[in-house]
Symmetry: C2
Subunit: 399 residues, 2 copies
């Protein structure tokens, strides 16, 4: 059982401080360098990009998080520090060292993340000048959230308070957008903090589970940027009975909720997007196929363009399902668009195209539901529509 | 050795006739119903969509082509006859029967193909009225080519004359566009004819090989519409020594050339496209990875948008490579954009961004070349850029 923390963010859990400055890495006058810090050392878990080309901060953080603990994260936007060779790795190390010096902690306890343009060296003079100016505070989570944004149009943050087995703890998170629903490249960053006491084994397992039903459902497997990462830090200050696999239900539920909220916010904030698309697949032979089907449909360029045009062109949905790899019996398939049946047992259903177009044009959130009637597998994926604005943004990103 | 046949088309090989009429299936006043016919029965091979949702004409033709022969193809545009259940299959059969009656041949020798909107019943009254009016002629290949177009902006056809081992034969083909480079849905149809004598074993093998290095390199595996098909008909009228695996080199080379030409024409004619993108991958550990890498890059939405914006944002190329599944050593990787080195051994190369932007804006054909320096695998894929116009076309296709 959990409740929303008003104006919650990554600094909402006890003992977490955050802050950001404008270091001048981004060309726009915006916050672009930030620190997240816990007053005590945390248990830490991370999920990283599956891209074979990994940015320097990912290489560094992936190595450091193996020991399962961390105390701070330093992040910049405006430069990905990817494809920057040995110098890039040295720069990521120096960035961690600078943050450690500022916070008077060991550099080994500092994780690093970057987002921005690939193939450009990190402007270390700006990093060196900026880090000492960051003043982490209890309210600084919102600034931290803004500092990691690139093409995001709105901040993505949330915190919940969980009441579990007589004690209370908080889980808070911030994320930056994936830019588009199929993140070919745009970086996804997410930082989640909690004051709960969690076992070393359960923490990474819970994070992976939460990521699988949230961020991985707005993105195609493997379709990740060199910089993607999700961090979960748990500092244990809530003093609850240690959470493990046998009593972790409430924690998992709340963590899933935070991650799903952030993931949906990303999808809704896709570059140029005007609508959130939610794709529910039910009755697949198993969950793997349900996930594959939901993701393929949510990511289909033609489905996205049709939804943008308020066009109930369900043939595109069925065709995306057909190529998703999920086993499908056409004659059992039922498809709903905003709760109206558009295809039934492999044949067109009767519906008013005019009413459906009107319903789509009035929907900020479009629901596509497919019943495969072949088993118990179910999954939900999120995407956004594809507009001319998306192309404008992405044809003019570095120039 | 082969030479281009001036104004060549699917009717260029001896004994092939083609024709088309305006049956009123498309809302525009355009040819939309066509017949391709050989004066004698042909050896026939086909490659079909891998989508699990198959249109009625694909189900019918796939079954008929198993026996390896055919004498005619009847095609319509404007309606896909997909997701139309048992009635759709009955309609596809009737369409073949009507063509057979018109041509006085057995219905079993007629293949059927359709392209257009999914989930709409075939307007059989228009098909019944239209087929008897088609008059196949030796010059009718160009009309046939126009009749299969949907959002294509220009016809795609080519014929070559092959001089092999003392005899001459002709291979001609027409195709309709895949609409976009990653054909999530838009249908690809291709019809190739030849008067060569070819063995029953070699014909399907040669077609598969040609499709693999052409149409499959503008499309992601499995990312096909319910209607995709490629047919190859060989009527043997050239009277050459029978072509088989041991003497098929010239035939294969010419067939590949025809298919690659049609495939590149499709990519160049992608919806809203302003540029053809050619992606050459060299030095991969093996050919499978080279193909995967080339296709992933050619299909990357962000690469396509960058090329549209004349933006030398090579980080997107490298990131697409990194998620392609191909094994990559970042420190061996060299990337060229229009023959200018932009990344070398994992680090940015020095180049003038202004000159590169100018070079891109002057290029109708943009060449992306990657040297992986890890082996002998090489492959080429084709795509097109992604423009606002693409979104406009695809958000307003059925409405």
């Amino acid at each position: 059982m959990f409740t929303l923390v008003p104006s919650g963010s990554v600094g909402s859990a006890s003992g977490f401080l955050a802050g950001a400055v404008r270091a001048g890495i981004k060309s726009k006058e915006e916050l672009d360098l930030a620190i997240l810090y816990s007053e005590v050392i945390c248990m830490a878990a991370g999920v990283f990009t599956t891209n074979q080309i990994k940015s320097a901060p990912v290489i560094l953080s992936q190595k450091r998080i193996v020991k399962g603990r961390a105390q701070a994260v330093v992040v910049n936007s405006g430069c990905a520090n990817a494809c920057t060779g040995g110098q890039g790795l040295a720069d990521a190390h120096e960035m961690a060292n600078l943050a450690a010096a500022k916070l008077s902690i060991s550099p080994e306890e500092v994780l690093v993340a970057s987002t921005g343009v690939i193939g450009v060296p990190l402007p270390m003079d700006k990093i060196r000048a900026g880090i000492p100016k960051i003043k982490p505070t209890r309210e600084g989570g919102h600034d931290f959230c803004r500092a990691i944004m690139t093409t995001d149009t709105r901040p993505k943050e949330m915190a919940v308070q969980v009441d579990s087995r007589g004690t209370k703890f908080t889980i808070g998170g911030v994320a930056k957008g994936i830019g588009m629903v199929h993140p070919n490249l745009a970086t996804m960053l997410c930082f989640v903090t909690t004051d709960a006491v969690v076992t070393a084994d359960f923490l990474p397992a819970a994070l992976q589970k939460a990521v699988d039903c949230s961020f991985n459902m707005v993105s195609i497997d493997g379709d990740t940027s060199p910089n993607d990462c999700v961090f979960l830090l748990a500092n244990g200050l809530a003093g609850n009975e240690s959470i493990d696999f046998d009593n972790g239900g409430d924690f998992q539920e709340a963590l899933n909720a935070v991650c799903i909220h952030l993931a949906k916010s990303m999808a809704r904030d896709g570059e140029g997007a005007t609508k959130l698309i939610e794709v529910m697949v039910e009755g697949a032979e198993d969950q793997v196929w349900a996930r594959q089907a939901a993701r393929t449909i949510a990511g289909s360029q033609l489905v996205k363009a049709a939804i943008y045009g308020n066009d109930p062109n369900w043939g595109r949905i069925v065709a995306a399902l057909g190529r998703s790899g999920a086993r499908v019996s056409e004659d059992r398939l039922v498809v709903y668009l905003n709760d109206v049946c558009v295809m039934k047992q492999g044949c067109p259903a009767t519906f008013s195209k005019e009413e459906m177009t009107l319903s789509l044009s009035n929907s900020d959130n479009v629901l596509i539901k497919l019943c495969l009637n072949s088993g118990d597998g179910q999954a939900t994926a999120w995407g956004c529509d594809l507009s001319e604005e998306y192309v404008r943004i992405n044809s003019r990103y570095t120039t």
